[in-house]
């Protein structure tokens, strides 16, 4: 009989990195499905192209480093799907591919891969293309157009390195009522027009693929939190602090500042709070730290929206808090059991 020598504990739970990541992908699928139903072939093509680029980039660097494949941990898939959901549905595919490459190469592999990245890789990818292609990333197409399952938006297949064609004529042909070409946040900022909660929940607003399905995002988040695959405290802190900040501003000047509901439902706040701020590697781990981290994201988001040059602030708020996370961890180390009494005596 051969004996195995191990050290305690001899039992392990069934939690594993693959399992957690797989469930995150699973809970993102309804959001993806909804965006495809809204925007049709263009959204589907973008989703596939970005995810495929992320996976290919990860594999490329595995090979370059002579390491076994790390695609099996599903983390690159999450990055790809999340990144695609933050882009405009008619975003040129080649630009999406650039975003995917940057997300994995600079956002993740450069830091050492899974668990070592300082910033959320998907948001690094998006920040890169936002800076590189400011026109394309604010070019929107209408949801629920009649031909969305039969034809692509003209911008989707833009030749790499070329300027995307103008979509204005194509949008006119789609015969969609009341399409403004601007997101609700931009309309509020520049025209002081706020969209209603129903507009957001029904998906009848202009936005990125993943910004129009608050209910599905929340449902995915609740599923993940219930299965303990996600830290619900961060999501609650982000949404709570954003709502509170918005409420305070509205108290001060109701004519100018929108309602907390508008703030919660508009832009990428819901997607960011549920799926991006909770990214395990880039968020703190201490009990107090997660609340501080979440609160920072919520407050900074609202501040950027209200006082910054950009219409949307979730992305930079999360990246900012990512950078703070190690510091937050450092200064919020939990009080060790039995430590306080000792401190008193000294």
């Amino acid at each position: 009989m051969s004996m195995e020598l191990r050290t305690s504990p001899h039992l392990v739970s069934d939690r594993s990195v693959e399992r957690i990541m797989k469930h995150v992908v699973l809970s993102l699928l309804p959001v993806c499905a909804f965006s495809v139903w809204q925007y049709g072939l263009s959204a589907l093509a973008l989703l596939l192209a970005v995810t495929a680029t992320c996976l290919a980039t990860e594999r490329l660097f595995n090979r370059a480093a002579d390491q076994p494949s790390t695609l099996g941990d599903w983390s690159a898939t999450i990055t790809g799907v999340l990144l695609a959901l933050t882009l405009p549905p008619a975003f040129p595919l080649w630009m999406g591919a650039v975003a995917g490459f940057v997300a994995i190469a600079i956002g993740k592999v450069l830091f050492g891969g899974l668990g070592c990245n300082v910033f959320n890789p998907a948001l690094i990818g998006r920040a890169f293309v936002q800076a590189s292609f400011p026109a394309a990333i604010t070019t929107w197409v209408p949801a629920f157009s009649a031909q969305r399952f039969t034809e692509f938006a003209p911008t989707t297949f833009t030749v790499p390195l070329m300027i995307p064609p103008d979509v204005a004529d194509w949008v006119k042909q789609q015969a969609v009522d009341a399409f403004t070409g601007a997101t609700p946040l931009a309309r509020w900022k520049f025209e002081n027009v706020t969209a209603s909660a129903w507009d957001f929940l029904s998906g009848a607003v202009t936005a990125s693929a993943g910004e129009t399905s608050a209910i599905l995002i929340l449902a995915g988040g609740i599923y993940l939190a219930a299965r303990k695959f996600m830290d619900w405290r961060i999501t609650v802190a982000v949404l709570g602090s954003a709502a509170l900040t918005a409420w305070l501003f509205q108290m001060v000047d109701p004519s100018h500042y929108p309602s907390p509901t508008f703030v919660l439902l508009s832009g990428g706040l819901m997607l960011g709070a549920v799926f991006m701020a909770t990214d395990m590697a880039t968020s703190p781990v201490t009990p107090l730290g997660v609340w501080i981290y979440g609160a920072v994201i919520g407050v900074v988001t609202v501040m950027i929206r209200y006082f910054g040059g950009l219409t949307e602030g979730v992305m930079y708020a999360i990246l900012f808090a990512n950078a703070m996370a190690p510091l937050i961890d450092k200064y919020t180390q939990p009080r060790v059991f039995g430590a306080r009494q000792q401190g008193k005596k000294q």
Partner: protein, 486 residues
Amino acid sequence: MKAEVKLDDLPLQDGEGRKPSAAPARRERAAHAGRRSLLFRLASLFRSKGTFAHGIHPAYHKETGSLPIRRLPFASHLVVPLAQHIGKPALCCVNVGQEVSRGEVIATADGRISLPVHAPATGVVEAIGLMPAASGKMEECITLRVYQADGQEVRVRKPRDVDAMNRQELLAAIQHTGLCGLGGATFPAHVKLDVPAEMGIDTLVVNGAECEPFLTCDHRIMVERTQDLMRGIRYAMRASGAPRAIIGIEDNKPDAIAAIAAALPDDGSISVQALETKYPQGAEDTLIYALLGREIPAGQRPAAVGALVNNVMTLAYLGRLLPAGEGLVERVLTVAGPAVESPGNYIVPIGTPLRFLLEQVGATSSAKEIILGGPMMGMTVSSLDVPVTKGTSGVLAFAAAATAGEAPRVYPCIGCGECVKVCPRFLNPAQLGLLSGKREYVEMAAQFNLDRCFECGCCSYVCPSHIPLVQQFRVAKAYNRKNPVT
């Protein structure tokens, strides 16, 4: 539950380095009990059973808890180590070839923090020398060839009137039984109970939590030897000066709670309290917090908060051995695990080799990993020649797949923070793990309280990246012990 006991933790001798009087200690404790109690009492409003923060809920596998204790036959040879307890090893007082009778002292205690060893069977001393021990090292052992034809009654016994003894006589008598902490800590019972009066112990905490998965021997002892246990608790209260005792039992053992509740004395000095079934409920500081709401200050013993913790098995044997004037020659332990055909609780003579024990219970050939103690804190043995000792609370035989299986892929820490959520000492295992990867062992102790880790294994259990955190912490502690910062 293995409590952390190191040699330098031993109780101080009377009169040395003690506080001059009991009053300041009591005041301090009362003040700090008051600080805790608001939160603790508030939480108590919402639950009927005691518990602690954090911890885990592994699969408990307590199937053997319903099986009565059975006796196993004697092996042909028993291997009795001289160092089965914490403290100085016993001194051998028999010679090769000498006949010994079951219960006879074959090695005497070497000083106060030491215990005698009694012959676990009638037979002849065949060898005295180094034999494989659970630690993996060779240790000094007395090998007995058992007379199989003998009836194996305990003939060497000195029944005494325990009630007539004074405290010193009581403690001396306890030492003569050779009894140590049977939960696995193996700290000599008489030393543990010898708490100076000025420490002001107000509660004897009786540990019936048995939070380790698979182990059920404490459970069966509480059900089947309730009277022994109650007697032992009274002796321990007298020896330690504690005016009251609380028995804490996890609520997955309702029959044990009921059996003890029925046997409680009328004077109210002993009570029983249900505890949430959660690992590590039976660790000293979590148990004291769950029962009394008191937090042992870091680096101190339970006496600092007026409590003394003893395991139910230890006290049940105390109640049985002390009046009979016998020594500890056997113990009840759980033999279980997926690779065991007839798991259960067995009375096993001290010194029984694991090979014989596993043959008796029908360990299958799939057994790959043999664990002494529970699966969370027990250790694997390298040889089946290792004997059962006083501290062996369980022998578990696992097939490879039942435990970690094919060594799962170790990922880098993904920062999920689950380990922080489960650590009963509120440490930050994630941070400690990152530092140990960089070999910053000194930093781990200085900044992140490495020394407060008692290796309960919760962090390793939940880690989705399968990082061997506890093992890394052991390495770090061992390094720090060898290279003390001056």
